[in-house]
């Protein structure tokens, strides 16, 4: 069939303009009279603001206004994700006390960015520095400085999971292995930073705010603006233009989002703020930082009896996305494996550092690290193969739906919907040439560049609620428009969601257009994060398209006087099968459904308008899975780790566009390589950021990321009409664990234990030196 779009690698419909440099990103938008913002930010990790002298800044050429944390009182940002044990502190715009380096204390608005920065440099702020704590282990100690002066301690939340009797089972287990691992803090680091343009107008006497924002969550922003500015949603229009990557950084609502909108109203001019890279590294959310001490008990034949994990998680100075990240970690440590007895306790600590919130993977890479490294230790102890011990412990295909006994992040029992982990790993072993690499490794083991092999399997809860809606409409030109509440930052929704609608409506994909990221085009939206759009918005598009097709056929029956079983919808036309000369086009149907001339009666058998809105509310998360095999070569002299082969087999359920899905996984793995080997946001003891540029904070380059083989092995999800599972974050999840395992394997003769990521050359060299020194 010519319209079987789902499952085809359709070229992206959006690419031509991006390739010509005709994208419209936030920094490209201009409005008449636009003024520019620069922020003055705290150089202290913890301090009280005594006084702000704005007068010198006000005299700088081009400066239009200077606003400071002096004499203005704003409410704290709303808490987005409450949690039972969470003692939440959210950020206060221009609060009197700053809690991490980089918090805004003043803002300068000027005719251009250069002058705004001149003004910011002229603002003088007097601080009373307070004791600060940057390190989460230190924050937990008695007598540690308090991150927030008005709090009695630094504990943000405690998290607990308990299935069966882990302590008892551990005591009786014949084999017990331990694993201690610290995971470094990373920055989301999209190549486009954050940015915001705000403009006010008056309509029917009411103020109206129009915001263009590089955001993943336009409807959430609209709602928060309404709350903070005491306006109704009708007065607030949030629009995401082309967004240059996000990975979590553009998901929370930040104080700058509020302040830029507020200052535009004060000044009576449209105002834009474009975050610079230092601001991004200093203030856009970080993630990953956790420290785990884990234990696994097994039978002598390698079956898991119990897992106990205790961890610390850093949330920085605030909780911009609740404590979702460590909660997810705690629920996903068992992963694709049967763990009959499980106990996990996480303590989430405030520190005087940049807040942490989801980055691609959101707590799952940490979980995959813990369980997979424990299994590697167990395999070593039992002298069994790393793949064999995993096969021995997988949840089996016939076990689905699988009751984990855990409580998911939504607060409901956690059930895995579908999967075939044994086949996933088997496919990986064959496709990745596991046996051949083992032989090659043995041959090369005595060289200065030994090989190491690592593997990991991880799962991801994706496609979560509460909902996403889609309005599918046929215009008077016969073209189809989809509107959803999602927002693309490069995922290719313009293509994939169009594929879904084009298949249902049997229309050429060139005639299907997507509008998203716009709060005025659909009343409700959740946004694009947590690997959810293909599943949730995709299902809504499918449901709305199906209803629309039904409506078209009902109308065509009426207009053609023929029952629908004798009609065929294809190529933008409904035809009588036996007499193709009798037909009606989508344009004619749309025209008819819009009603005859004004003043006449509407007598058609369908509601006016060829348009249908449907919301999809997923009943629960659908679980994607990935198995990764990595081969590394380690240079014993320099400590350099070179990835020589990378294979991933992935279960994303039904694929809408395989090329796009593969691209998402490649990108996720690239991020995982950064997390494992290169990227770390470092602070000194006083809370000063040490990695404020891309010279210090190393993103993977084209020389660090190898060619990867990505294969798909789908088990369609029973939880949505597409059978799809989310994929945006998947690649980032098992990759760090597989890479660390491979490096450790390469250093087997040194008996090196890698207990922290990123594994940089210095760490590798240190392990080699430790092994060669007499004990």
């Amino acid at each position: 069939m010519a319209y079987d779009y789902v499952g085809q690698s359709v070229r992206r419909v959006n690419d031509q303009r991006l390739l010509r440099g005709q994208g419209q990103y936030i920094a490209d938008i201009r409005r008449p009279g636009l003024a520019h913002v620069a922020f003055v930010r705290s150089p202290h990790a913890h301090a009280r603001i005594i006084a702000v002298d704005t007068a010198p800044a006000a005299r700088v050429s081009g400066v239009l206004g200077v606003y400071a944390a002096d004499g203005i009182e704003f409410p704290a940002l709303p808490l987005l994700f409450p949690y039972r044990t969470l003692d939440a502190v959210t950020q206060i715009p221009f609060g009197r006390e700053v809690h991490h380096v980089g918090e805004p204390v003043a803002m300068v608005v000027a005719e251009n960015r250069y002058q705004a920065e001149d003004g910011a440099a002229a603002v003088h702020v007097e601080y009373e520095p307070l004791p600060a704590v940057a390190e989460m282990k230190r924050a937990r100690q008695d007598g540690a400085p308090r991150v927030h002066s008005d709090r009695s301690g630094n504990l943000a939340a405690s998290i607990m999971q308990n299935v069966g009797d882990a302590a008892g089972a551990m005591q009786e287990a014949p084999i017990v292995v331990n694993c201690e691992i610290g995971m470094g803090r990373v920055s989301c680091a999209p190549i486009e930073t954050r940015g915001l343009l705000a403009e006010w107008s008056v309509r029917s006497g009411d103020p109206e705010l129009h915001v263009y924002a590089a955001t993943q969550t336009p409807h959430m922003m609209q709602r928060i603006y309404a709350e903070l500015l005491h306006l109704s949603e009708r007065q607030i229009h949030v629009q995401a233009p082309d967004v240059g990557g996000a990975f979590g950084a553009k998901e929370p609502f930040y104080v700058e989002d509020f302040l830029v909108a507020w200052v535009s109203r004060q000044l009576g001019r449209p105002v834009v703020w474009i975050e610079d890279r230092l601001e991004h590294l200093l203030t856009s959310v970080h993630e990953r930082e956790q420290f785990h001490q884990a234990q696994m008990g097994l039978t002598r034949d390698g079956r898991i009896l119990a897992v106990i994990d205790r961890f610390l998680a850093n949330t920085g100075a605030y909780v911009p996305w609740g404590v979702i990240v460590p909660v997810i970690t705690s629920t996903l440590i068992p992963g694709p494996y049967k763990v009959p007895n499980y106990f996990c306790e996480g303590l989430v600590m405030y520190t005087n550092t940049t807040p942490l919130a989801p980055y691609r993977g959101a707590g799952r890479p940490q979980a995959a690290m813990v369980i997979n490294r424990l299994l590697d230790r167990a395999a070593d102890r039992l002298h069994v193969d790393a793949a064999a011990i995993r096969q021995r412990n997988f949840i089996q295909p016939e076990d689905f739906p699988y009751q984990t006994g855990l409580i998911s992040r939504e607060g409901t029992p956690m059930v895995l919907d579908s999967g075939d982990y044994p086949a996933l790993l088997k496919t990986l072993m064959q496709a990745g040439g596991y046996a051949q690499w083992q032989e090659k490794k043995t041959r090369q083991s005595a060289s200065d560049r030994p090989l190491g092999i690592g593997l990991a399997v991880g799962i991801e809860n994706t496609g979560m609620g509460p909902h996403e809606g889609a309005t599918v409409t046929v215009g008077s030109d016969g073209q189809v428009t989809i509107v959803t509440g999602a927002a693309s930052q490069g995922q290719g929704h313009e293509t994939t969601l169009a594929q879904v609608a084009a298949e249902v409506l049997a229309i050429d994909i060139d005639r299907v257009h997507l509008v998203e990221g716009d709060s005025q085009r659909i009343a409700y939206g959740t946004g694009t994060f947590a690997s959810r759009t293909a599943v949730v918005a995709g299902s809504a598009v499918k449901m709305a398209s199906e209803q629309l097709r039904d409506k078209m056929l009902t109308l065509a029956e009426h207009l053609l006087g023929t029952r629908r079983e004798f009609l065929q919808l294809a190529g933008g036309t409904v035809r009588v099968v036996s007499d193709p000369t009798r037909s009606v086009s989508l344009a004619q149907l749309a025209e008819a459904a819009s009603g005859p001339f004004p003043g006449s009666s509407y007598t058609l058998p369908v509601d006016p308008g060829l348009s249908v809105t449907m919301f999809f509310t997923p009943p629960g998360a659908t679980y994607a899975a990935g198995a990764h095999l990595v081969v590394v070569e380690v240079d014993r002299d320099t400590g350099q780790v070179n990835i020589v082969a990378y294979t991933a087999v992935h279960d994303a359920g039904t694929l809408i566009n395989p090329q796009i899905v593969t691209g998402q996984i490649q990108g996720g793995i690239s991020g995982g390589i950064g997390t494992a080997l290169l990227e770390e946001m470092r602070f000194d003891e006083a809370g000063q950021l040490l990695t404020g540029t891309f010279m210090d904070y190393l993103l993977p380059t084209a020389l660090d990321v190898p060619d990867m083989t990505v294969l798909h092995r789908a088990t369609p999800s029973p939880l949505n009409p597409l059978g799809a599972k989310g994929v945006g974050e998947s690649g980032a999840i098992p990759s760090p664990s597989a890479i660390v395992a491979a490096v450790e394997d390469a250093l087997k003769t040194e008996h090196a234990v890698l207990d922290a990521i990123p594994v940089r050359p210095s760490a590798v060299r240190q392990r080699i030196r430790m092994a060669s020194e007499p004990q």
Binding site: Q24, A27, R113, P190, R277, G492, A702, T709
Partner: protein, 169 residues
């Protein structure tokens, strides 16, 4: 005494994509990237780090790739500048390289893409048949957070007449 910062103005001409532009009454400190984007409104050149590390703002200056965030506009006088907007012959067509990027899904968010295209244009001019390793080396100054680079390497290989899709997973 020096004039107050932000008050001095200069005018000059720039040759961009074979067109002569007059840049009038701008501050002498204005970066080439900002002149291109703000004055000439050629917004295809993107700023990702403003410290010369990410490569998104790369343009060709007299045939050589330059970080337009590290060069003043006024320094680019009397030189020929090529930006992403100058890569295709017309609005109706894409260049071979751009088409290869499209075919190979070598872009996701598209933000790093103009810099990638410029870096690749320079590479293919210097070395019409680069190996995959040479392509990777030529791209190593351009950061991409979305793609993992593999499809970008494929695209450049394809544009050079090589296999292109060979390593697609």
């Amino acid at each position: 005494m020096l004039p107050q910062r932000g008050t001095e103005r200069v005018s000059y001409t720039l040759l961009v994509n074979q067109q002569t532009y007059t840049v009038e009454q701008v501050e002498p400190r204005m970066l080439l990237a900002d002149v291109l984007r703000e004055v000439l409104r050629l917004t295809g050149t993107h700023l990702g780090c403003e410290h010369g590390a990410c490569g998104a703002c790369t343009v060709l200056v007299d045939g050589r790739p330059v970080r337009s965030c590290l060069m003043l506009g006024i320094q680019a006088q009397n030189q020929s500048i090529i930006t992403v907007e100058g890569l295709s012959a017309s609005d109706a067509t894409l260049s071979t390289l751009q088409t290869a990027f499209w075919d190979e899904h070598a872009l996701q968010c598209g933000f790093c893409t103009p810099g990638m295209l410029i870096a690749a244009t320079h590479l293919l001019h210097e070395n019409p048949h680069p190996s995959r390793q040479q392509i990777r080396e030529a791209l190593s100054g351009n950061l991409c957070r979305c793609t993992g680079y593999q499809n970008i390497v494929n695209a450049i290989e394809r544009a050079a007449g090589g296999e292109g899709t060979e390593s697609r997973g």
